[in-house]
């Protein structure tokens, strides 16, 4: 339980909505270790996004603490990036794709900034669209733009808030492969919040299952599918189905009432 190995350590974090007594997080503890891909799944509306905002440093916890490399910071650490679900609201519509990707790099000298933007766009295969505006792109391309913005900042930690929930099935599969490739290549420590159990098992090294509100981690399951995942062979393997079954059962058990459909 040393903090050194954890890039992000969530310790006994509780959170209520201000002004009323709805508790969202209940003494939740979680850690992301160096280079790990952790997926967090849970029933709809259980507070996954709130957890992510706490981890990002966007929302202070009521009690407990979030440590980034052993330190408690007042805001988002500079080595952390996020991709939000809703690209239409997180990308800046008045900036071209290129300028969106370079948005957080103002402090760098111009040449280095251009180079980083170029590399990030190349990584998501979007070089040809650099001078278009985000709203001129399809949903999948916009989400790739958001991904490029996230990695252009050279992060060590990448947070993904249901990043594939707003795109069609085929695009989702392409994006999953793209994200996995990027995370491995850049050795990112990644935290994926999703309601898609198959996606969590397919992508992660470890899956944490949350309870219904107020959320706690009820189960952590190691996904021993090896570092290389393939949409066909991995998803057809007996081990994958077994793990998916386990996670699915656990999530179902948490969602006591009839299963809802909306994401949360």
């Amino acid at each position: 339980m040393t903090n050194d190995a954890s890039v992000v350590a969530v310790e006994q974090v509780s959170k209520r909505y201000a002004g009323n007594s709805v508790q969202i997080l209940d003494q939740l503890s979680l850690r992301v270790t160096e280079g790990e891909f952790l997926a967090v799944v849970g029933p709809s509306g259980c507070g996954k996004t709130t957890l992510l905002r706490c981890i990002a440093g966007l929302l202070p916890p009521d009690s407990g603490q979030v440590l980034h490399r052993g330190q408690q910071l007042g805001g988002p650490p500079p080595w952390l990036s996020i991709v939000f679900q809703d690209y239409n609201r997180s990308l800046f519509p008045w900036l071209s794709v290129r300028r969106n990707v370079g948005f957080g790099l103002r402090k760098l000298p111009r040449r280095e900034r251009d180079e980083r933007v170029r590399r990030a766009l190349a990584a998501v295969n979007l070089e040809d669209s650099a001078d278009l505006y985000p709203w001129q792109l399809s949903g999948g391309m916009q989400q790739r733009c958001a991904l490029a913005r996230a990695i252009a900042a050279s992060p060590q930690v990448l947070l993904l808030d249901e990043p594939f929930a707003s795109v069609d099935a085929q695009t989702r599969i392409d994006l999953q492969d793209m994200v996995l490739g990027i995370c491995r290549e850049l050795r990112l420590s990644t935290l994926l919040v999703t309601h898609d159990i198959e996606e969590a098992v397919f992508m992660a090294d470890r899956v944490a299952v949350l309870s219904t509100r107020p959320a706690r981690v009820v189960e952590e399951i190691d996904i021993d599918l090896g570092p290389h995942r393939d949409q066909l062979t991995t998803k057809e393997s007996a081990r994958f189905l077994e793990l998916r079954h386990r996670v699915f059962t656990e999530v179902r058990r948490q969602a006591r009432p009839a299963p809802a459909t909306a994401g949360g």
């Binding site: 609201r89 669209s129 709203w135």
Partner: protein
């Protein structure tokens, strides 16, 4: 321009199609075959009708001026002389330029104050409900009503006129900026924080551009107020300016010059409005494209 500005749903490309292919899709969707009459011909006809209408109106006026010998119907030639004389020589420097200086300075100050204070109040949401009633009440004051008070405080000076114009321009811009800043998406603000922007940087680089559509709507209202207040402030105790020129000629029963002054103000207003509309068109191209996005 229209062939590449806004993607329609039909032209929305499949995932991964490169840019060149997409623009082809778009121009195919909006290309030839939609209208049978070439656009230049429609525009020419429209122009002919517009010019024709003006010519007819002027002809009626001229005919009336020739037949009826009344002072309020001066011949067009006299009005045109007065109009032209305001654009050169002494009348330009003594009447038109001082007016333009007042309107430009007052408008500029009002817009600048309105934008900066409005963005601040709208961004720091905690302050907003607290100051809002004061601002709403101030906006409800017809600006002309503050004129006597301003005359008392600052005297019949240029400062007074500029301040009155600025006062009138501030509130529509201010309230629009508050609204725009309040409506900035939380996710964009989160994105700015993650990107490491400080609060002032976020104001300039995120809140301001996001609020620009609302702000420019306020600016257009402010322009109208600025022109009105320019004239009114010059009707009271001024020794120059276009408003004063009109008033002076009215007292001398020089009807043609009175009308010429009014036409000059109309021209000034038209130039300003056109300039702002053009600027708006350029600055908000992204906004129209963004909002017309299907879904």
């Amino acid at each position: 321009m229209s062939s590449k500005a806004i993607p329609t749903e039909a032209a929305q490309p499949p995932y991964g199609v490169p840019a060149e292919a997409r623009s082809k899709v778009r121009s195919a969707a909006t290309g030839p075959g939609r209208s049978r009459v070439p656009p230049w011909r429609t525009r020419l006809w429209q122009l002919l009708w517009q010019v024709g209408f003006v010519v007819v109106l002027l002809a009626i006026w001229e005919r009336a001026a020739k037949t009826a010998d009344v002072p309020y119907l001066p011949p067009l030639g006299d009005i045109a002389d007065g109009y032209v004389s305001l654009f050169h020589g002494e009348l330009l420097t003594q009447e038109l330029l001082p007016s333009l200086y007042r309107v430009a300075t007052g408008f500029g100050i009002g817009v600048a104050v309105g934008i900066s204070v409005g963005l601040l109040v709208g961004y720091l949401r905690a302050v907003e409900p607290w100051v809002r009633p004061v601002l709403e009440f101030n906006r409800a004051i017809p600006v002309a009503a503050v004129l006597p008070g301003a005359l008392l405080l600052f005297g019949a000076t240029d400062t007074m006129r500029v301040l009155v114009i600025a006062f009138g321009c501030t509130f529509p811009v201010l309230l629009a900026a508050i609204d725009g800043a309040r409506r900035v998406d939380d996710l964009m603000l989160d994105s700015a924080r993650i990107a490491g922007l400080s609060r002032p940087q976020t104001m300039v680089r995120v809140v301001f551009p996001a609020a620009l559509p609302q702000i420019l709507a306020g600016v257009r209202i402010a322009l109208g107020i600025a022109l009105i207040m320019m004239v009114i402030s010059e009707l009271i105790a001024a020794d120059n300016g276009i408003g004063q020129y009109i008033l002076r000629n009215q007292r001398l029963f020089r009807t043609a010059d009175v009308y010429a002054g009014v036409l000059v103000i109309g021209t000034v207003g038209w130039v300003f409005t056109t300039a702002i509309l053009q600027a708006e068109k350029r600055m908000l191209r992204w906004h129209r494209g963004w909002r017309s996005l299907p879904e």
